[in-house]
């Protein structure tokens, strides 16, 4: 059977698609593998900062104890928030009770932040100096330890409410 040379055009497209898919899959193989890990966050930390087994084991332990502490504080924050919501809905003026409720939720929130910062420092101590600095920069940028104004330069509250 005589084949037309025009069959090379779809064949070329097929080869192009295969080449694209192969290189794309190769480039993204590492993050895709990390996404399948049982604990994605820790797997990312291990890969990003090239942790060896002993470093990873120590950081995992720090992570576990921080998780327990964080869960305890989160429970308290949730309870205080429920109480505050109920108190705020029951009145239309800022009473002393309401003010102290607000301060209490803020205090708990600050406790969470300082606990998180302790955890971040503890993790950083397990890393080599350059990696530790990069880790802290990344985490201080991404977490709520240091509150940052949002894009636009105006002052914002935590839930996005703006004061122009």
């Amino acid at each position: 059977m005589k084949r037309s040379p025009l069959t090379l055009i779809p064949l070329g497209l097929l080869i192009g698609c295969i080449a694209f898919g192969a290189v794309y899959a190769w480039q993204t193989r590492k993050p895709r593998a990390l996404l399948k890990a049982p604990e994605v966050g820790l797997a990312w930390l291990r890969s990003e900062f090239h942790l060896d087994d002993s470093q990873y084991a120590r950081i995992e332990q720090l992570h576990r104890s921080y998780e327990a502490e964080c869960a305890r504080l989160c429970q308290k924050v949730a309870e205080e928030n429920t109480r505050l919501a109920r108190a705020a809905a029951a009145t239309n003026t800022v009473t002393d009770g309401l003010r102290s409720q607000i301060l209490e939720t803020g205090r708990l929130r600050d406790q969470c932040r300082s606990s998180m910062l302790e955890y971040l420092y503890a993790v950083a101590r397990e890393l080599p100096p350059a990696a530790a600095q990069r880790y802290l920069e990344l985490m201080l940028e991404s977490t709520c330890v240091v509150e940052k104004p949002r894009a636009g330069g105006s002052v914002h509250s935590m839930n996005g409410h703006s004061h122009e």
């Binding site: 037309s4 055009i9 295969i18 080449a19 480039q27 993204t28 990312w44 964080c70 977490t143 709520c144």
Partner: protein, 129 residues
């Protein structure tokens, strides 16, 4: 012995050697000819080979002669070098695009992974977008 005599002798010797060589070559040629006569090609050329060859020659000539605005893929791709070049170029383009898009996707996925870590440690973090 005179110079003339020496030249004549040398010429005779050379003629004699030449005739010996010719006889040897003749006999070898004879053997080769016999061998060649006995050799039979037991495989036919592919059907339509001659037609194909002429068609390719015609296509090449046509491609060379035709002006660029009468460009024909069919004629152009009939040349093996250009056909393989086309396939190689497409493969290279695919691989290059895959590398660029793959790197961008890997960076985006890496950002998502970092976000998952932050979500795990920060109770007030917003989901990664």
């Amino acid at each position: 012995m005179s110079f003339r005599t020496r030249i004549v002798e040398r010429r005779e010797r050379r003629t004699k050697a030449c005739s010996m060589n010719t006889r040897r070559t003749d006999s070898r040629d004879e053997a080769l000819s016999r061998l060649l006569r006995s050799w039979e090609v037991d495989r036919d050329a592919p059907l339509h080979m001659a037609d194909d060859v002429w068609r390719r020659i015609a296509a090449r000539g046509k491609a060379d002669e035709e002006p660029w605005w009468k460009f024909s893929w069919a004629v152009w791709l009939r040349r093996p070098v250009l056909a393989f070049g086309y396939l190689g170029l497409i493969a290279l383009l695919g691989a290059g695009t895959g590398a660029v898009r793959g790197r961008a996707a890997a960076e985006s996925l890496s950002g998502e992974l970092q976000g998952r870590y932050v979500m795990a440690i920060d109770p007030f973090a917003e989901p990664h977008r």
